[in-house]
Symmetry: C2
Subunit: 412 residues, 2 copies
């Protein structure tokens, strides 16, 4: 197996001003290609620190990625330090320079001398053209080392990687056999509950890589296994154990899966939400083509709006409270009727930090779903801060609605 | 200055399955305390790799953070490897154990033998209680090294850090003088435009740390300087150069700043949005107390809804198109009137990937703002994918609305 190491350069990474998304991107893509990522480090804009990092990497890794520090401000040292590391000078890449000249011409601007520096590469390197920005990338291939140097701007780095790097690695590095990936997307339960449902027997007596990742409102399992038959039996076991919580074996979003069911059934939906303030609607309209199933939403943030625009009787609101079973139900029915949809989904709750009481604490949320025959209300008590309560409410509404869609009944 | 190093443990970090938010959090907080973060590395769940990382760290850094690998599954090696590194055994912490027993009792569950392992620490270590989860943290203080070991679950790690770590470091480590931090939050322009407005003279002849960070829809500048007088003049120069784009010198959210102005003026707002599907409403209701200024929103995703619920004449929609100046204006006015708000803000556009044409390409977006006297429409052509176009539209609407609020007129 070919080992791989990632060095991200920039002081902003070391003091935490910036989240290191480049390291994650490179690690994931390198793993997908078939490299084994064994080291990752962040290095500040400092010649000595960079030299030490390069030395360690060259001692131990087959493929070395370096990103960042290719700009033209004084703290950008990467290209000159790498040239010095290999004991050589710098040369200009004419094609990158012409690209920049054309680019600036279109903007009716002159190329500054400073900018010209970004088209240089070490004499022992080959260029990696950057058509998405200014700074040239490059790579240095020796008999058993490949160093790939890319700009730190995530957009440019990703575009350059996609277009040039997999091919480059395949042509220069001997890779091990590719492992089979299996993804499972789960909603409505937390990571620990997923582990409990799978149980120890899931892991006993078979060998595979297992990763479980809680994300916003959902849990993703990623597995790598060596044989197709093992993948199949893992898939079967997960389906059995996680049943009503497993919504996809693809890298789909939950809204996409829900949208596909609605389109398939030729049905539509509408939303009335209060404490989530538009969050549920936003999730549901993320997939392209959402207009095929999503009618619209009323964000009824004030009682007066719940009464006048969603037609919830003011008596219900004053007697039961805006956060109540009754108001949740009335909102779901109103969403369905007013937006002329097959289903209405509503959320009303107390996201906090203010507005809670002993009877109705922060985190109390009612979610309701109505179809043409009936309606049902689901009470919740979510934990966490305002932002967490809003997120969990919206995701739980997605989950409940997905279950309703699968059973074709609001009672399940 | 006391140097600091961060080691994050877990194979899921090395192959990119998970974004390393812990490293960023620790780096930022350590810098705030006054430590200088010089190294960051990710290490896989492997004894040899961990030993090498610990050895390097102990050779060079005053404070060493280690996170991850404290659970009780077979790949969790951190506590035993650290004990072996220091040549000692493990001991149980009674208080953490009692905490877990109580916790499981409340859940009516038994403590498994496996779980008990999570309450152990190396014999030369002192405990860091974890009241937010199961795994005990710990620290090892020698004459000139401090190693702090925390669980990898971000929620637990952050809570434990906040409650125990700054005090611990202050009591054991001699810190250098604290630098003064200056934050500037900017909206309505990109990073490159910010740099152009500041110009080279902003940087000439004075010494300070400068970081510029484009985030979702806004740009943040973070500066560290040694003297209060330098901070003051930097602040004055930024205000002058960035004028109508600089919305705060605090770590406020844009919605919070807008909400504060509305509350101060005793005014309210409402929204009608189409392609953004609830995004703008969600941003506006993020701050606590949003109900003081936010009335509600209509997400009018279908033409029929724009007509029937937002009262946009069907003739306008068919003649001018749903994405047009006229419909944007009608939606803003309707939001203001129907929700009985001081201001109505609307967005209608083509987020793609489908639905574009030569006359009306993907990315065409109209944003309108109405007050009681008048209304104004702002046309845009945003670049990027569906998600980018939705984000930019919502953020640009916030920016336009903020400018209207500052001028108290929709014409500026």
């Amino acid at each position: 197996m070919a080992s791989c190491e990632i060095i991200t350069i920039g002081s902003e990474l070391l003091d935490g001003r910036v989240l290191n998304t480049n390291a994650r991107y490179l690690a994931r893509e390198a793993s997908r290609i078939g490299l084994t990522v064994t080291h990752q480090s962040a290095c500040r804009d400092d010649e000595q620190a960079m030299m030490a990092a390069l030395r360690e990497a060259m001692n131990r890794s087959r493929v070395i990625f370096v990103t960042g520090g290719l700009g033209s401000t004084p703290d950008d040292l990467t290209r000159s330090v790498i040239a010095r590391f290999f004991g050589c000078g710098l040369k200009q890449d004419k094609r990158q320079y012409q690209h920049i000249v054309r680019y600036f011409k279109a903007l009716k601007r002159r190329v500054l001398p400073m900018t010209r520096e970004e088209t240089y590469l070490p004499e022992n390197a080959k260029p990696l053209l950057n058509r998405w920005g200014i700074a040239l990338g490059f790579y240095i291939a020796t008999k058993n080392r490949l160093m790939i140097v890319l700009p730190g701007v995530p957009r440019e780095m990703v575009a350059m990687f996609e277009h040039q790097i997999p091919e480059l690695i395949h042509s220069l590095v001997k890779l091990g056999p590719k492992r089979i990936e299996l993804v499972a997307k789960i909603a409505g339960i937390y990571e620990t509950q997923v582990m409990k449902l799978l149980g120890p027997s899931f892991f006993r007596g078979r060998n595979f890589d297992f990763g479980i990742y809680p994300e916003l409102g959902e849990v993703t399992i990623r597995i790598k296994a060596d044989t197709l038959s093992l993948t199949r039996s893992l898939r079967r076991d997960m389906a059995k154990a996680l049943g009503q919580h497993l919504y996809s074996f693809e890298d789909d979003s939950f809204a996409q899966v829900i949208g596909d069911i609605l389109v398939h059934k030729k049905q539509t939906m509408a939303v009335a939400e209060s404490c989530t303030g538009g969050f549920l609607s936003q999730l549901l309209t993320e997939p392209p083509g959402a207009s095929r199933y999503f009618q619209g939403s009323l964000v009824a943030y004030q009682n007066e709006i719940k009464n006048r625009l969603a037609e919830v009787p003011m008596q219900t609101i004053t007697k039961k409270g805006a956060v109540s079973r009754e108001v949740a139900r009335a909102l779901a029915i109103s969403a369905r009727v007013q937006f002329r949809a097959s289903y209405g989904v509503s959320i009303t709750g107390i996201a906090g930090p203010g507005g809670g009481s002993v009877q109705k604490p922060v985190g109390l949320v009612y979610i309701a779903i109505a179809d043409k025959n009936e309606s049902r209300v689901f009470p919740y008590r979510f934990m966490g801060d305002r932002s967490k309560i809003r997120q969990r409410s919206a995701w739980e509404a997605l989950y409940l609605f997905w279950r309703v869609l699968k059973k074709s009944s609001v009672h399940f």
